[in-house]
């Protein structure tokens, strides 16, 4: 398969997951923010933006409101990581590789794009929930169609790789937001609402079935970081990415791990898997940052290895005497 196509598929996976997870995170936090006392709203908004990696210069933290944050993270097409930008980018990538994905998948992405203006307007008119719901529904549709209409070949692997890496990244951001919310330095001591955080990643019911009691910090972190069976845990997403890489290039040397991205991901996974959960919890902020950085490194290594093609080159003719 062409490197350009592989890269396109990788990014469709990433962008759709990003749109979906941002919608999930925002959904929970908007609720959270609305309940927060007015004094801390600006503070909380700023930390949410920081967690999502958005720098904001034009307004002081105190002026930040839930509405403004939603605008930036969900609707603003100028913010490259907003939900709208992610959906636009996913569709643009799909357009370039539309012969490599199934036509149903392309239609689902394209129909999302076509329906975007109407939903955007609805979302901006005070009903962000409806917009988040729309994004989650469309993401579920794309994921379902990919599941049922794509061969399990390299195209599929790159798509799943993108989705998995993005999922790890977004899960760590969600967990960071919980940690920051509970930090006593930020105003008052807020215990994060673990049930709500779990619910935002559709993990609450699965959690209850597995632990049979309401979440506590240790169990919630354990579930979201380390659960072996739940598909929205960091462990599960990392393992899936590793499996994809292994299938892309099954060759193993006699010793060590020659593939850079696979080594990085394996290192991250084992570092989580074989540590005691108390340790992890104690050290959580730096653990989460390490995972995020590791994912970025793995993504870069992947691009260097598989997405090698040139950008268009413009040729110029040398001026030869005989030519006019």
């Amino acid at each position: 398969m062409l490197s350009r196509i592989a890269e396109g598929l990788f990014w469709i996976g990433r962008y759709m997951e990003r749109a979906e997870d941002t919608a999930r995170i925002l959904d929970v936090h908007i609720h959270h923010l609305l309940e927060a006392p007015v004094t801390s709203e600006g503070q909380l908004c700023q930390s949410l933006l920081a967690i999502m990696g958005v720098e904001i210069r034009d307004s002081a933290p105190k002026e930040l409101t839930a509405r403004r944050v939603t605008e930036i993270l969900a609707f603003d097409a100028d913010n490259p990581s907003s939900i709208v930008s992610s959906l636009l980018a996913a569709r643009a990538n799909a357009r370039g590789v539309s012969e490599a994905i199934s036509s149903e998948m392309w239609e689902a992405l394209n129909a999302t794009y076509n329906a975007l203006p109407a939903h955007l307007e609805l979302g901006r008119r005070n009903v962000p929930y409806a917009f988040f719901r729309f994004v989650r529904d469309r993401a579920a549709m794309v994921a379902g169609l990919s599941e049922s209409s794509m061969s399990r070949d390299d195209a599929w692997r790159f798509f799943v790789l993108g989705r998995s890496l993005e999922r790890v990244d977004m899960l760590t951001r969600l967990l960071s937001s919980a940690v920051v919310g509970s930090d006593p330095e930020h105003g008052r001591d807020r215990q994060p609402d673990w049930a709500m955080l779990l619910r935002s990643f559709s993990a609450h019911e699965a959690f209850l079935r597995s632990y049979r009691r309401e979440p506590e910090p240790v169990t919630a972190v354990e579930f979201l970081l380390l659960d072996r069976l739940f598909p929205r845990s960091v462990f599960w997403a990392l393992s899936t990415a590793e499996d994809c890489l292994a299938e892309l290039d099954p060759r193993l040397g006699r010793a060590g791990m020659p593939d850079e991205s696979r080594r990085t991901l394996g290192h991250l996974r084992t570092n989580l898997e074989f540590r005691r959960v108390d340790d992890l919890l104690e050290d959580l902020p730096s653990v989460l940052v390490a995972v995020q950085k590791g994912c970025a490194a793995a993504s870069a290594a992947l691009a260097a290895r598989y997405f090698r093609y040139t950008n268009p080159i413009e040729w110029s003719s040398e001026v030869v005497g005989v030519e006019s």
Binding site: L2, S3, A6, S98, E99, W315, S317
Partner: protein, 543 residues
């Protein structure tokens, strides 16, 4: 509320009656279109509008759109199909195939011995002055002798009901994806029309194309790798490029995905570089290879022409084909057909004047207000002057232009293009049409796709059908068997083979799908209910 045809009057462009594809006279449908006419007449106009809306939604969702002044619009398919009977079609198809054979012979001659120039059937001047004659293509002998892998020969029907060839397109003719998509759309939107007509299928095109491309591969290759080459997503025909790649199951490459090394072409894949044997390119000659043509092209791949010259890759359609579909070469086509094939042309040309001939030039200058003036190098309907529609000032300007540069212009007899009922507002009105049949040459055989792309000029009285000029399209039906099917009985007339085959044995019949626990539950539930009721009754009795 009247029917869709209310107020439909036949068109008479510039006083000349046009051939209507549906009606032979006011209110009287032709034999081949009778059934279609009756079905449409029975359709309430609001039902028709609802189907138009369904069509637009579906095209938009599937991304089958085009840009018009910066806005994305659904592809303009008019829902009234154009019917051509199988008998008439047989002549068109034969004429198109003949044309392609002659064009192949011409190209092979021009890029080789040049017999036709020696014999003075075609003036040498015409070839050497053509912007599309490429010396870089001279001496490249295609592996199976094919240069015109795909051709789109534009034909029109005149007021006399005959088909004329208007233009040959043997560089990168586009539009075939719309033929296939239009048919799929029609089958979804108007299933009942297909039930009463036997329409030739157009689905076979991608398979035929792939076969022809594989057959054209360099002979040493056993299992050739075919790719479709596109200028990129911003090209107006990108949908078609992507469509064909998908339907053929081959890679869609851009110039930057390809790399040439020691006379061979490779594509950059995740497993490293992979050999490419056949490039079905939808990039114009000028942009194909910056080493030979425009050096500022960033959509081409440097070195592909040399690789083709070395016989390591096949470029389809071949480089330099433009010399043969030039508007001036067109005027010689009847002679070219006679020269190479020793046959009379099956489809006539539209009468065309060569302005380099002083007598013809004088005639044209005198009669400019009756003729159509076209730029030789132009395409897409740009720069066409239609005499009867032009103002005095435009005519004066045109006279000056052709007098100073006759090589750049041709003048054609005005053809009153045939019309067909087309949706305008909430009724049907006659609009002018042309037809682009597509032919595929695999080296052994020339296959003509039954039907082709019917383009329709939407503004009233307009004779320019190009989509860049606000044109629409229609599904083109080649219908077999003109005996009308008994009304009310659907499908039976279509699948003759099914009716002939003996009824299946009972043992062949598929078993019923298994039922899950929910089903059993219902049975048990029913039983439980009954027993409970019985017990109740017994208890009552016992009391």
């Amino acid at each position: 509320m009247g029917d869709l045809f209310e107020g439909y009057t036949l068109a008479r462009p510039y006083g000349r009656p046009a051939w209507d594809e549906m009606f032979e006279a006011e209110g009287i449908p032709r034999a081949a279109t009778q059934m279609l006419h009756d079905a449409l007449q029975a359709l309430p106009p609001d039902e028709f509008e609802a189907r138009c809306a369904a069509r637009d939604r579906s095209f938009t969702d599937r991304g089958i759109t085009f840009q018009l002044s910066g806005e994305e619009r659904p592809f303009p398919l008019d829902l009234i199909p154009r019917i051509i009977s199988a008998n008439e079609w047989a002549l068109v198809a034969a004429g198109v195939a003949q044309r392609v054979r002659a064009l192949e012979a011409l190209l092979s001659d021009l890029y080789g011995p040049g017999r036709i120039l020696e014999d003075r059937v075609l003036p040498r001047r015409l070839v050497t002055s053509s912007a599309h004659f490429h010396r870089a293509a001279w001496g490249i002998e295609p592996p199976n002798g094919v240069r015109v892998h795909v051709a789109g020969i534009d034909v029109v029907r005149g007021g006399d009901g005959r088909f004329y060839v208007l233009e040959d397109n043997i560089r990168c003719p586009s539009g075939v994806s719309y033929v296939i998509e239009n048919r799929r759309m029609m089958a979804r939107i108007f299933p009942e029309l297909f039930a009463s007509h036997r329409v030739e299928s157009v689905q076979g095109y991608p398979a035929k194309l792939l076969e022809a491309l594989r057959a054209s591969a360099p002979s040493a290759v056993a299992d050739p790798t075919v790719v479709v080459m596109t200028p990129g997503v911003y090209n107006s025909a990108f949908f078609e490029h992507s469509f064909l790649a998908r339907q053929m199951g081959v890679e869609l490459v851009e110039g930057r995905d390809l790399v040439c090394r020691s006379g061979r072409v490779y594509m950059r894949t995740v497993d490293g570089e992979e050999r490419v044997d056949v490039i079905y390119r939808r990039v114009d000659d000028d942009f194909l290879d910056p080493l030979h043509f425009r050096s500022d092209s960033i959509v081409g791949c440097p070195g592909v022409v040399n690789a083709a010259r070395a016989g390591n890759v096949t470029i389809a359609n071949a480089v330099g084909n433009g010399v043969a579909d030039d508007k001036l070469t067109y005027t010689y086509m009847p002679d070219i057909i006679r020269y190479y094939l020793n046959e009379e042309p099956l489809l006539p040309n539209v009468a065309t004047y060569r302005l380099e001939d002083p007598d013809q030039l004088a005639h044209v200058l005198d009669h400019l207000d009756e003729l159509v003036l076209k730029p030789v190098a132009g395409s897409g309907g740009y720069g066409i002057l239609i005499g009867p529609q032009a103002t005095e000032l435009q005519l004066a300007h045109a006279r000056h232009q052709i007098a100073t540069d006759p090589r750049s212009w041709t003048a054609q007899q005005l053809v009153a293009l045939s019309t067909s009922p087309t949706r305008v507002g909430d009724r049907l009105a006659p609009r002018h049409l042309d037809l682009r049949p597509f032919a595929i040459n695999d080296g052994k055989d020339i296959w003509v796709l039954p039907g082709g792309l019917t383009r329709v000029a939407l503004p009233q009285g307009s004779l320019v059908v190009n989509s860049s000029q606000g044109g629409g399209s229609k599904d083109t039906w080649i219908t077999v068997g003109s005996d009308p099917a008994p009304t009310g009985i659907h499908f039976a007339t279509r699948s003759v083979s099914d009716a002939d085959s003996p009824p299946r044995e009972a043992s062949e019949r598929a078993v019923r799908p298994e039922a899950g626990p929910a089903w059993d539950e219902r049975e048990r539930h029913h039983q439980q209910q009954q027993q409970q009721q019985q017990q109740q009754q017994q208890r009552i009795r016992a009391c």
